[in-house]
C-alpha cells in the first residue's frame, strides 16, 4: 500500500510543482457524490459511448469508406461475383475475415442502441425529478444537443455499410429533403453529389460519423461533466439532506470504485449482448440496390418514431404558384423534430416562467409532487410511443392479425386524443398518491387491525410514523400558485404589471392549483388531538414490530 502511495506521491509532487495540482486535489478528491439507482442512467450512456469509441476505432482499421464498384471475391461464398461498393465489401471482410471483427461490429451496434436508450432514460429521469431546474439549465440544454448528436451518429453509422437497409434509410432521407420548398432538390444534390444515390455519400458521411459528430459529443460530454462536477450532483431530500448540502459517498475511493466498476459492467454487458444476440447481419441483406427493398424491415429504434410519423400522415399536399408543398412529408420529416425538440430544449425556462420560481434547486422532486410536470412528461411518452408503434404498424398488423390501415387510423386519431388523456390520468394518479402521503402523515400507517369500541364503533388502528418517516413524506417544498396581487394599489392607482402578473398567476395555478398540500403544523397537531383518540390511545399497545 505504501509503495502505491509513494509512487502516486512522486507523480503528484511532479505535477504539483508545475501546476499546483495539490490545491485542486485537496478540494476535490473527497468530493461528495450522492447515490441513487436513477443516477446510473447517465453513467450507462457515458460508458456505452466509451465502448462505441473503442470498437469504432477498431472498425476503422479495415473499413473502406468508398462507393467504388468492386466485384466481390472474398470469403463469403454467397456474395462472390456480386458487384458491390467497397464499403459493403470491407464490411463483409470485417465480419468474415477478421477474427473478432464480427464481435466488434456487433459491440459497436449494440453499444449505439444502448447509448441512445440510456441517454433517453437519463433525460426522462432528469425531467421527472426536476433536476433540470436552476442552476442546471445549461446541462439540460447540452443534454438535448447530445441526444440529437447521438441520433445523428447512429444514423450516419447505420448508412455506412452500404447494405440494402442503409441505402433504403438514405433514400427516405432524400425524399424528406426533396419536400423542403425551394431548396430541396439542391440540398439533395449537394449531399449526394448529384443524383441519388451517386457515389459520394459514403465518403461524405464517414468523416461526420468518425470525426465531427463524436468530436462534438466528446466535447459536450466533457462540458456536461465539468458543470456537473462544479455544481455538485442533485440529491433526494430526507433527514439531514437539504437544499444547501449534499450527502453521499466521497469521490475517492467509493465513487471511483463504484463508477469505475460500473464502467466495466456496462462494457461487459454490451460485449455479452454482441456475443449472443446477432444484430444487423448485413451479409443477409445484400449490397444496396435502389430497386430492391424487403418487407418488414425496421430502422434502429431511435429513428422509429420519425418513420412512424411518415407512415401515419394523411396524403396532404398543396400548391403555391403551381409548386407542390408536400405536407405529408414536410410535417413528419422536417417539422416534427423541431416541434419536439424546441419545447424540450426550452422546458426549464417555460416552467420557470409559469411558476415564477427562479431559485436554485438541488433537491429532486418526487414525480408525484409535481403532478402537472409529471403529466406533461407522460403525455409526451404516450405521444412518442404512438409514433413508435406507427413505425412498426406492419409488424403489429401481422401479430394482431388486423389490417395495417386500422393501426394507421388508430394512430392518426390516438395521437391527438391519447396524450391529453394520459396527462389527465397521470395528474389524477399523482394527486391520489399525494393524498395518500398526506393521510399517512396525518393519521399514520394503516395497520389492518380493526378495533371495536364498547359502543360498537369500528375503527382501524393507525400506527404513527416515526419522525424520520414522516419527514421523508414532507421535506418537499410547499407549492403555492402565485398571487397577482390587487389590480390597483391602496390609492386606486392601477398596477402597470398587473396584466402580466395575472397571466403568470394563471400559469402557476395550472401547475400548482390542484396540488394536494402536505399538512401544516397546526393541521397535524389538531389531527392528533381530536377525532382520532382511538389510534393515539392504542398506540402503545401495538406490538413493537408493527411500529
Amino acid at each position: 500500500m505504501s509503495a502505491i502511495v509513494n509512487g502516486a506521491g512522486k507523480v503528484v509532487d511532479f505535477v504539483d510543482q508545475r501546476i499546483t495540482a495539490s490545491n485542486w486535489l485537496k478540494r476535490n478528491i473527497r468530493k461528495v457524490f450522492p447515490d441513487h439507482w436513477s443516477f446510473l442512467l447517465g453513467e450507462i450512456a457515458l460508458f456505452s459511448f466509451i465502448m462505441i469509441l473503442l470498437s469504432g476505432v477498431f472498425l476503422t482499421l479495415w473499413f473502406k469508406p468508398t462507393m467504388a464498384h468492386v466485384v466481390y471475391e472474398g470469403a463469403y461464398v454467397p456474395m462472390r461475383d456480386v458487384g458491390m461498393s467497397e464499403a459493403y465489401a470491407s464490411t463483409l471482410e470485417i465480419s468474415f475475415e477478421v477474427r473478432g471483427g464480427l464481435l466488434m461490429r456487433q459491440v459497436h451496434h449494440w453499444g449505439a442502441l444502448i447509448f441512445l436508450a440510456a441517454m433517453s432514460a437519463h433525460m426522462l429521469r432528469v425531467f421527472f425529478t426536476g433536476a433540470f431546474r436552476k442552476p442546471r439549465e445549461i446541462n439540460w440544454l447540452i443534454g438535448v444537443v447530445l441526444l440529437v448528436l447521438g441520433v445523428a451518429a447512429g444514423f450516419t453509422g447505420y448508412s455506412l455499410p452500404d447494405d440494402l437497409l442503409s441505402g433504403t434509410g438514405l433514400r427516405i432521407i432524400e425524399g424528406g429533403m426533396l419536400a423542403i420548398p425551394i431548396v430541396g432538390t439542391y440540398l439533395s444534390s449537394f449531399l449526394f453529389g448529384g443524383e441519388y444515390p451517386g457515389d459520394d455519400i459514403i465518403a461524405r458521411l464517414y468523416p461526420m460519423h468518425i470525426l465531427l459528430i463524436p468530436g462534438l459529443i466528446l466535447a459536450l460530454v466533457t462540458a456536461h461533466l465539468m458543470i456537473l462536477w462544479y455544481q455538485k450532483h442533485t440529491h433526494w431530500g430526507g433527514p439531514g439532506k437539504t437544499n444547501t448540502n449534499v450527502a453521499g459517498a466521497p469521490f475517492y475511493p467509493i465513487y471511483v470504485a463504484k463508477a469505475g466498476g460500473f464502467q466495466f459492467i456496462v462494457m461487459g454487458v454490451i460485449v455479452l449482448l454482441a456475443a449472443t444476440i446477432q444484430i444487423n447481419p448485413v451479409w443477409l441483406w445484400g449490397p444496396y440496390d435502389p430497386s430492391v427493398v424487403s418487407a418488414g424491415t425496421q430502422p434502429d429504434w431511435y429513428v422509429g418514431f420519425l418513420d412512424g410519423a411518415l407512415r401515419v400522415m394523411p396524403p396532404w399536399e398543396f400548391y403555391i404558384f403551381d409548386h407542390p408543398v408536400t405536407m405529408s412529408v414536410l410535417i413528419p420529416a422536417i417539422l416534427l423534430p423541431g416541434i419536439i425538440l424546441t419545447p424540450l430544449a426550452l422546458y426549464p425556462w417555460l416552467e420557470q416562467k409559469a411558476t415564477g420560481d427562479t431559485r436554485e434547486h438541488h433537491l429532486l422532486d418526487r414525480p408525484r409532487n409535481v403532478p402537472v410536470r409529471t403529466g406533461i412528461g407522460v403525455a409526451f411518452i404516450v405521444f412518442y410511443i404512438l409514433l413508435w408503434i406507427a413505425g412498426g404498424n406492419d409488424f403489429f398488423a401481422t401479430i394482431l392479425e388486423i389490417p395495417v390501415n386500422w393501426i394507421t387510423w388508430f394512430i392518426r386519431i390516438g395521437i391527438f386524443v391519447l396524450p391529453p388523456l394520459a396527462f389527465f390520468a397521470t395528474k389524477r394518479i399523482c394527486l391520489g398518491l399525494q393524498r395518500r402521503d398526506r393521510d399517512k402523515v396525518m393519521h399514520g400507517r394503516e395497520t389492518g387491525i380493526v378495533m371495536v369500541s364498547p359502543e360498537g364503533e369500528f375503527s382501524e388502528l393507525h400506527a404513527p410514523l416515526s419522525q424520520a418517516q414522516a419527514y421523508q413524506l414532507t421535506w418537499h417544498e410547499r407549492q403555492l400558485p402565485s398571487d397577482p396581487g390587487p389590480a390597483t394599489d391602496a390609492n386606486g392607482i392601477p398596477n402597470p404589471n398587473y396584466r402580466s402578473k395575472r397571466v403568470q398567476a394563471r400559469l402557476s395555478r395550472f401547475y400548482f392549483g390542484d396540488v394536494v398540500q402536505k399538512p401544516t403544523r397546526e393541521e397535524l397537531e389538531s389531527a392528533h388531538h381530536d377525532g382520532h383518540g382511538a389510534e393515539s390511545a392504542h398506540r402503545d399497545e401495538l406490538p413493537s414490530g408493527q411500529q
Binding site: E174, L191, L272, E317, P481
Partner: protein, 361 residues
C-alpha cells in the same frame, strides 16, 4: 426577486419568492437530522469480511482466467478456410464470435462486479455531508469583474470609434461566406439543374423492356394474367459498370409490368393506348419518399409500398388509395415492336419518385 428559500425546518412564515403576497404555512415535521447507517456485516464480523475479500479476489482472478481463455480461443478457433476457394464457414465465425465475446464480456463484467463488491462491502464508507457553495458570485466580485470589463472596453474605445467598430463587424459578417461558397461544388457544377435531372430517365421511344435480374426482352404472351414482373430499360445495360450513372438509373428507371383482364382496367382519358393487351407498366419508385414498391395484391390490383404503406391502385392509373403518398404512380406508355417484344413508347410523361418544389402539377 428574492432568493430566499423556503425554510425546510418550517419557520412560521416563510415567503414564497414569486408571490410577495402569499404566505407559506409552517412545515409539519422538523428535520430529524442525518440518519447514520447500521454497520455492515463485514464491519463487525471478521469472517464475513474475509469471505467478502475472497469473493472480490475470486472475481478478479476469474477475470484473468477468462482473458487468457479469450487469447486461447482467438488462436484455436479459426475462421480462415484452409483453401481460400472454399470460403468462410458461417458456423466457424459464429463459434469464434461466441467464444471471444463470452470470455471478453465475462472478464469485463467480473472486473466491474469485483470493484463494486469491494466498494460496497469492504471500503469503509461513511456518509459525508458537504455544504453547497452559492453559485452566484458575490456582489463585490461581480462589481469588480464588470468594472474590469468596462475598463477594457473603454481602453479599446470600441464604443467611441464607430468607424472601426462597424467596419470590423462588417468584415466579420462577410467572412463566413467563403466557407459556405466553398461547399458549392459538393453538387455538380455543369449540366442540367438538380430538378432537370429528375425529369428524365433512360426510357425512350422504342427502348425494349427487359426483365430485371436476367435482362431478357419480354413478349406480351410471356405474362400471365395476375402476374407482376420487375423490369428495366434495355439501355441500362449500356451504362458503364463503374461510376454513378448505373446506380442512379437503378434508382429512377425500374418499372413493374402487371397484366390484368382488360375489362378490369379503368383507363384515364389520354392513356387509352398506353397498355398492351391488359399489360401496364408503372414506375417502381414510390411517390412518397422513393422506396421501391414491392407488395402486389393480384385480386385487387393494389400495390403497397413496404416502407410507409402507401397503396396504389394499378387498375386505376396508379391512383393513391391509402397512405401518405400524394400522387399517383407514374405510368410508362408501352407498345410492341416488330418482333413482338414490349417497348416503351416514350420516357415517363412526368418525373418519377417523390414530390419536389420545381415539379408542376
Amino acid at each position: 426577486m428574492s432568493t430566499h428559500n423556503v425554510n425546510p425546518n418550517g419557520d412560521e412564515h416563510a415567503v414564497v419568492p414569486h408571490g410577495e403576497h402569499a404566505v407559506v404555512p409552517a412545515d409539519p415535521i422538523a428535520d430529524p437530522g442525518l440518519h447514520h447507517d447500521e454497520p455492515r456485516l463485514t464491519d463487525v464480523d471478521k469472517k464475513a469480511e474475509r469471505r467478502a475479500e475472497r469473493q472480490v479476489a475470486g472475481m478478479f482472478a476469474l477475470a484473468s482466467l477468462l482473458t487468457v481463455a479469450f487469447i486461447v480461443f482467438y488462436v484455436i478457433v479459426g475462421i480462415h478456410p484452409d483453401d481460400p476457394d472454399d470460403g468462410v464457414n458461417i458456423g466457424d465465425v459464429q463459434v469464434s464470435n461466441l467464444t471471444l465475446g463470452l470470455t471478453l464480456g465475462l472478464a469485463l463484467f467480473l472486473v466491474g462486479a469485483g470493484a463494486v463488491q469491494w466498494a460496497r462491502s469492504l471500503m469503509s464508507s461513511p456518509e459525508v455531508v458537504h455544504e453547497r457553495h452559492e453559485l452566484r458570485g458575490d456582489d463585490e466580485t461581480r462589481a469588480a469583474a464588470l468594472a474590469d470589463f468596462e475598463t477594457g472596453t473603454e481602453e479599446t474605445g470600441f464604443g467611441r470609434r464607430k468607424l472601426i467598430r462597424n467596419s470590423l463587424l462588417g468584415a466579420l459578417a462577410l467572412l463566413p461566406l467563403p466557407a459556405v461558397i466553398l461547399l458549392r461544388d459538393l453538387g455538380p457544377n455543369t449540366g442540367p439543374s438538380p430538378s432537370e435531372r429528375k425529369e428524365h430517365t433512360i426510357w425512350a421511344e422504342g427502348v425494349r423492356v427487359l426483365t430485371d435480374v436476367t435482362f431478357m426482352p419480354i413478349r406480351a404472351a410471356d405474362l400471365e394474367i395476375g402476374q407482376l414482373v420487375n423490369a428495366m430499360p434495355a439501355t441500362f445495360e449500356d451504362l458503364p459498370e463503374h461510376g454513378p450513372e448505373r446506380i442512379n438509373e437503378r434508382a429512377k428507371s425500374p418499372v413493374m409490368l402487371v397484366r390484368m383482364l382488360p375489362e378490369d382496367i379503368h383507363v384515364a382519358p389520354g392513356r387509352e393506348n398506353w397498355g398492351v393487351d391488359g399489360i401496364l407498366a408503372y414506375s417502381k419508385i414510390c411517390t412518397h419518399v422513393g422506396c421501391p414498391i414491392s407488395l402486389y395484391e393480384q385480386t385487387t390490383h393494389h400495390m403497397l409500398c413496404p416502407c410507409h404503406q402507401s397503396t396504389f391502385d394499378l387498375s386505376d392509373n396508379g391512383k393513391v388509395i391509402f397512405g401518405p403518398a400524394t400522387r399517383s404512380l407514374p405510368q410508362l406508355p408501352i407498345a410492341v415492336d416488330s418482333e413482338g417484344y414490349l417497348i416503351a413508347q416514350s420516357d415517363f410523361t412526368e418525373p418519377v419518385g417523390p414530390s419536389y418544389w420545381e415539379r408542376t402539377r
